[in-house]
Amino acid sequence: MPFDVTILAPHVPFLLKGALLTAEACALALVGSLIIGLLVAALRTSSSPLLSRAAFVYVDLFRNIPFIVQLFFFFYGLPEIGIYVDAFTTGVIALSIAGGAFSSDVIRSGILAIDTGIIEAAEVSGLSKPVIFRKIVMPIALRTSIRPLGSVFINLVLTSSILSTITLNELTGSAKIVASDTFRPFEVYAVLLIAYASLTYLVSLAIGVLHRRLNRDRMPEVA
C-alpha cells in the first residue's frame, strides 16, 4: 500500500472537531493548572513549615506518578464516591491537577528569584502579606517564568492525547476512529504526529513573543 495522504481529505472536518475538543480541554486545564500552581507555589514558599511540607508532598506525588494512572484513579474512582462527571470534566480535572504540580514548581522558582530587597521595601511600606503576594510577588514571578510555564503548557497539550484512553474523542481519539474507518493507520498517525509537532511549535513561538513583550523593560538581564 503506497503512502497516500489524500484519502484523509473527507475526514478533515471530523478531525478538526477533535482538535477543537483538545483545544478546549487544554485551555481549561491551562487555567486550572495556573490557579493550582499559583496556590501551591504560594504554600511552598510560605513561612509555615506545615503548609510548605504539604505542598511539597502534593508536587512530589503528582510529578512521580504516571499521568495515565492518575487519570484512571479519577475516572474510575470519582463515581465510586458518588461524583458522576463526564469524561471531559474528569480529563480537565486530572490535567489541571497534574499540570498544577509542574507549574507550581516553575512559579516557585520564579518567586525564589525575586530580589528580597523588593519584598522588604514592600513590608516597610506597610503592605499586608496578601497584598504583597498579589501586587508584587505574583506579577514579577509570573512574567519571569513565562518561558518555563510555556514548556509546561506544551507538555500539557502532548499529555492531553492520553485523554483518548478514557473514551474522550479529542484529536487522538478521533484519529483512532478515522484510522479504523479508512484502514490507513500509517497516514492518519503520521499526519497526526506532524500536526501535534507543528501545533506545539507554534505555541512555543507564541510564548517566545509573549515572553519578550512582558519582559521588554528588563531585556538586557533576561534575554
Binding site: 506525588l61 506518578i65 495515565i68 483512532k176 498517525y189 506532524i194
Partner: protein
C-alpha cells in the same frame, strides 16, 4: 464466577507487571542512551546531511505525544510495510526512539558545556578529534549530563505506562485488569501509583549517587 476480592495471587500479578515495566524501561533507556549519544557524536563531527536530519527528527519526536508515536509504530507500520509488529516490539522501538531524542539534547548540551579553550589546547597538543572526544570531552560531559539524565529517566519511567494502551501487560495494564475485576479503583490505583512512585524515587536516588561519584574530583576536599 468472578473473584471480587483481592487474592494473594494479585501480588504475583503486580510484581510481574512491575517487572515488565522495569525491564522495558531499562532496555529502552539503554538503547536510547546509545542511539542518542551516537546522534550527538554525529553532530559533534558535523556530518553534512545527517546532522540537520537528526536535529529535525529529534524535534519531531520531542514535540509529539508518545501515544501517537506508539500508534504509528504499532498500527501504522504493519499496515504500510506489511510486517508483523508485536506490542512489545512496538513499545521498544517507540520508547527507545523517544528516549534517544531527549538524550540527544542532553548530550549535545553536555558536549557544548566544555570550554573551547580545553578543546583547542588538546588539538594543539596533536590529539585527534576522536581522542579529544574520548579523553577530554566524554569524562567531563558525563558528570555534567548525569543530573538532567536522572530527571529524564524519572520521566521516561512514567512514559512507559502508556504502552499498556497497545496491550503490553505492564504495571498499568495489571492495574486495569485488577480494577475491572475487583471494582475497587481507589485501592488498585493507589497501589499501582505507589509502586511507580517508589520506583521513580529509586531511580532519582541512583542518579544522585552516581552524580556524586562522577563529580568526586571537583568536590571540596578541605584544606
Amino acid at each position: 464466577m468472578r473473584y471480587t476480592s483481592f487474592t494473594p495471587y494479585d501480588f504475583v500479578l503486580l510484581a510481574q507487571g512491575l517487572g515488565v515495566s522495569l525491564a522495558l524501561f531499562l532496555a529502552t533507556s539503554l538503547i536510547g542512551l546509545v542511539i542518542g549519544t551516537i546522534w550527538a557524536v554525529i553532530r559533534f563531527y558535523r556530518v553534512p546531511v545527517l546532522t540537520p536530519f537528526i536535529a529535525f527528527l529529534a524535534e519531531l519526536l520531542k514535540n509529539s505525544p508518545v501515544l501517537v508515536q506508539l500508534f504509528l509504530v504499532f498500527f501504522g507500520l504493519p499496515a504500510l510495510l506489511k510486517i508483523n509488529v508485536t506490542p512489545v516490539e512496538a513499545a521498544v522501538i517507540t520508547l527507545s526512539g523517544n528516549t534517544a531524542a531527549f538524550i540527544y539534547v542532553i548530550a549535545v548540551s553536555a558536549i557544548e558545556s566544555i570550554g573551547r579553550d580545553q578543546i583547542e589546547s588538546a588539538r594543539v597538543f596533536g590529539l585527534s578529534r576522536w581522542q579529544v572526544l574520548h579523553h577530554i570531552i566524554a569524562p567531563q560531559a558525563m558528570a555534567f549530563a548525569v543530573g538532567p539524565l536522572t530527571g529524564l529517566l524519572v520521566n521516561q519511567l512514567q512514559v512507559t505506562s502508556l504502552i499498556s494502551v497497545i496491550g503490553v501487560v505492564d504495571l498499568t495494564k495489571i492495574g486495569n485488569i485488577l480494577n475491572l475485576r475487583t471494582l475497587k479503583p481507589f485501592i488498585v490505583w493507589t497501589i499501582v501509583g505507589g509502586l511507580y512512585y517508589v520506583t521513580a524515587k529509586l531511580v532519582a536516588l541512583g542518579g544522585a549517587m552516581l552524580e556524586k561519584r562522577l563529580r568526586a574530583h571537583t568536590a571540596w576536599k578541605g584544606l
